[in-house]
């Protein structure tokens, strides 16, 4: 095709005129914005590591960080779609609280009466009930927004109050505990982690997937004669991807079970116990696996499915989307229903982790979720945002918070810092975008 050769010449001519750094980024197609965020996060990590005397960058702290991030990052993936369509959801924390409370009552009080304690089906019934409830609440919000034309800010502000109040009414404010043993695995901890061997397997599978997807995309581009990345860039990307995955697995596998638990386990299984000896690795925590899985599924939905395409089209120009024949109202309903379901997943993670459902669960989470999405590059003006960015944003927020705890900063000051960082991050992003134009 004459066209493609022209393109190739054109691209080559253009890239020759650029400096090596720009050429590198063009060749690898790495998102410089995302890279900037990774850089900022590394600065935060190294800074806290220095201030805390080497406590921050330890397998133990990083592992805990990953577990603490899971719940908010799950919700942040949905918040991206909400914000991309120029909506907002202020009710996610309250939905988390309400759904968590319902799931708590279901597994701790209702199902045991029917099935007996720790019945193997308890967790799945509870989870499915929670997911349906979350989806129903979200769909209700979405319908009010789409069909009654009430602004999402108001609908979900109402939801924030309504569902928090409803949470109280479920048990008149009583905390529900303990959770079902299997359900609890979703919260992490020593039992809620998959161990060293399984972690390595997951890691290698992820590497295979990364390489396979790079090869597949190259084949597709070749088939249709599109411009391709240089071969070295493909190797580079595969290498970096695999190194990151395996590095993360290595860290998770370097965090051993606490001595007491390891000793109990050794006694129960008749293993020899030497002082300071038995090393049982945590491996990747189940909530983290859930969050990563959700991130992959949501990225797939956002970029590979028609629904995701419509979400972004609506965000870019609602009128154009409507005129193109997209049922924009139903898309809105589905976005909010999806958001509700993700709140239910987050509720499962956080109740399982706490081993209780409380009245105040998820309070202020809506703000952390929105902040994560926005720090992660989701534009409040609509149309722009990535799932990976939002999850990274959640990790940045959580790093700040747990870093400040490690360093021993007072909690009022923590909030001030988080607030200042949020505003600064968005300001920097505005500057970046203005310059990118």
């Amino acid at each position: 095709m004459a066209d493609t050769t022209n393109t190739a010449h054109f691209n080559r001519a253009r890239s020759a005129a650029e400096n090596p750094v720009k050429r590198f980024f063009r060749a690898t197609e790495i998102d410089t914005r995302l890279l900037g965020m990774v850089g900022a996060m590394l600065i935060i990590w190294i800074g806290f590591n220095f201030l805390s005397g080497g406590l921050f960058l330890t397998p133990r702290n990083l592992w805990n960080l990953s577990v603490q991030t899971a719940s908010v990052s799950v919700m942040a993936t949905g918040m991206v779609l909400v914000i991309v369509t120029r909506n907002i959801d202020l009710s996610v924390g309250s939905i988390l609280g309400f759904v968590g409370m319902i799931m708590g009552v279901l597994q701790a009080e209702l199902l045991p009466q029917l099935l007996g304690f720790n019945h193997p089906a308890t967790w799945i019934i509870t989870l499915l009930a929670g997911l349906s409830l979350g989806a129903a609440i979200g769909a209700l919000h979405g319908m009010i927004i789409a069909f009654l034309n009430v602004p999402s800010f108001i609908v979900t502000l109402g939801g924030l109050l309504v569902w928090r109040g409803a949470t109280w009414f479920v048990t008149s404010g009583r905390t529900v505990a303990p959770m079902d043993a299997t359900f609890r695995l979703m919260g992490g901890g020593t039992e809620g982690s998959i161990g060293a061997t399984a972690s390595w397997i997951v890691g290698f599978l992820a590497c295979v997937a990364i390489v396979a997807s790079i090869i597949h995309s190259r084949k597709q581009r070749k088939r249709f004669g599109f411009p391709r990345r240089p071969v070295w860039a493909e190797y580079f990307l595969s290498g970096i991807g695999c190194a990151l995955v395996l590095g993360a697995v290595a860290i998770a596998n370097n965090y051993p079970w606490p001595t007491n638990i390891a000793r109990k386990y050794a006694e129960a299984n008749g293993l020899a116990w030497r002082e300071g000896g038995l090393f049982i690795a945590h491996g990747i925590a189940i909530p983290v696996l859930i969050a990563i899985l959700i991130g992959i599924v949501m990225t797939f939905i956002a970029t590979r499915l028609r629904f995701g395409r419509y979400v972004f089209a609506i965000g870019g120009n609602p009128e154009a989307a409507e005129l193109a024949g997209i049922k924009t109202r139903w898309v809105t309903v589905r976005i909010f229903a999806l958001m509700g379901m993700l709140c239910a997943v987050a509720a499962a993670i956080s109740t399982a982790r706490l081993n209780a459902a409380t009245n105040a669960q998820g309070e202020l989470d809506e703000l952390y979720t929105i902040a994560a999405a926005v720090i992660g590059g989701t534009s409040l003006a609509g149309g722009m945002g990535t799932i990976a960015g939002a999850m990274l944003g959640a990790l940045v927020m959580q790093s700040l918070q747990s870093g400040m705890v490690l360093v021993g900063i007072d909690s009022p000051l923590q909030r001030i810092v988080v607030g200042v960082v949020l505003v600064t991050a968005v300001w920097l992003d505005t500057v970046y975008r203005a310059r990118a134009k």
Binding site: D3, F226, F300, L305, A313, G316, A320, A321, L323, G325
Partner: protein, 261 residues
């Protein structure tokens, strides 16, 4: 009209009002295959509103639409597309933040057997269509926001012809364009006309469309002033229709024609 063929589109006695204001009042227009009809009038004369009824963006209060002589049910943009009606809006209704291929297929995406978006196939087809329209266009990976007015216009036009439109509505197609790009759009209109597509050109500026159109229909205050073949009237006479509602002798007066004393 002495034409014995069935009109491609016939809009009969269309009315619509918004909160008591008659935006379109008892208006009738028609369009034949391979014909370009310019719909002229001041801003607010009701041209865009009338045509948005045809493209399904608004629902008429009264009147009927016939496509190939058959009454057509058009309630939303999807219905209109089923009848082969494609619209290029004045505001260039493109989704700014997705790329050209995504815009071309917006609402009608190609999908793989697994139900996922077939982006490569869409991009391949987009390259083909855009190559025909605007061979210089290369920016397939960038969001449409980054494109120039003319490039955005070619995306909008490609989007319309990609699905074998039989009726094309162009609302101020050259308003956002420079002279060279305007000439390009003119060429394109002639090409589409040869393919037997009927085109409604909407404009408030007679100079934009007079040379391209076979007929003009003039609107004023929501009513049709009259219709005329462009060979039968001069630009000045059409201006008289637009400004004063004065119908020249060779034109056919409509309900909005100035009442001669």
């Amino acid at each position: 009209m002495t034409d014995q063929r069935t009109p491609l589109v016939e809009m009969r006695n269309i009315s619509i009002s918004f909160g008591g204001i008659h935006a379109v009042d008892n208006a009738s227009v028609d369009l034949y295959p391979g014909e370009v009809v310019a719909l002229l009038g001041h801003n607010g004369a009701g041209k865009s509103t009338l045509i948005k009824i045809l493209s399904g963006a608004y629902r008429r209060d009264a009147g009927e639409i016939l496509i190939n002589g058959e009454p057509a049910d058009i309630h939303n943009p999807r219905d209109a597309k089923k009848y082969g009606i494609e619209t290029i809006y004045q505001t260039l209704a493109v989704a700014d933040n997705v790329d050209a291929a995504a815009n071309l297929y917006l609402g009608r995406e190609l999908r793989t057997p697994w139900g996922t978006l077939d982006d490569v196939a869409m991009e391949a087809k987009a390259r083909e269509v855009m190559g025909r329209l605007n061979p210089n266009f290369q920016r397939f990976k960038e969001p449409v926001k980054a494109l120039s007015g003319g490039q955005r216009q070619s995306v909008a036009i490609a989007r319309a012809i990609l699905f074998n439109a039989r009726i094309l509505i162009m609302d101020e197609p050259t308003a956002a364009l420079g002279p060279q790009e305007t000439a390009q759009v003119g060429e394109l209109i002639k090409q589409l006309k040869r393919e037997g597509i009927g085109i409604f050109l909407i404009s408030h500026d007679i100079h934009d469309v007079f040379d391209l159109a076979d007929r003009v229909s003039v609107m004023k205050n929501g009513q049709v002033v009259g219709h005329a073949r462009t060979e039968d009237v001069t630009k000045d006479e059409v201006l008289g229709m637009i400004i004063m509602g004065k119908v020249p002798p060779k034109a056919i007066p409509g309900p909005g024609a100035m009442q001669m004393a």
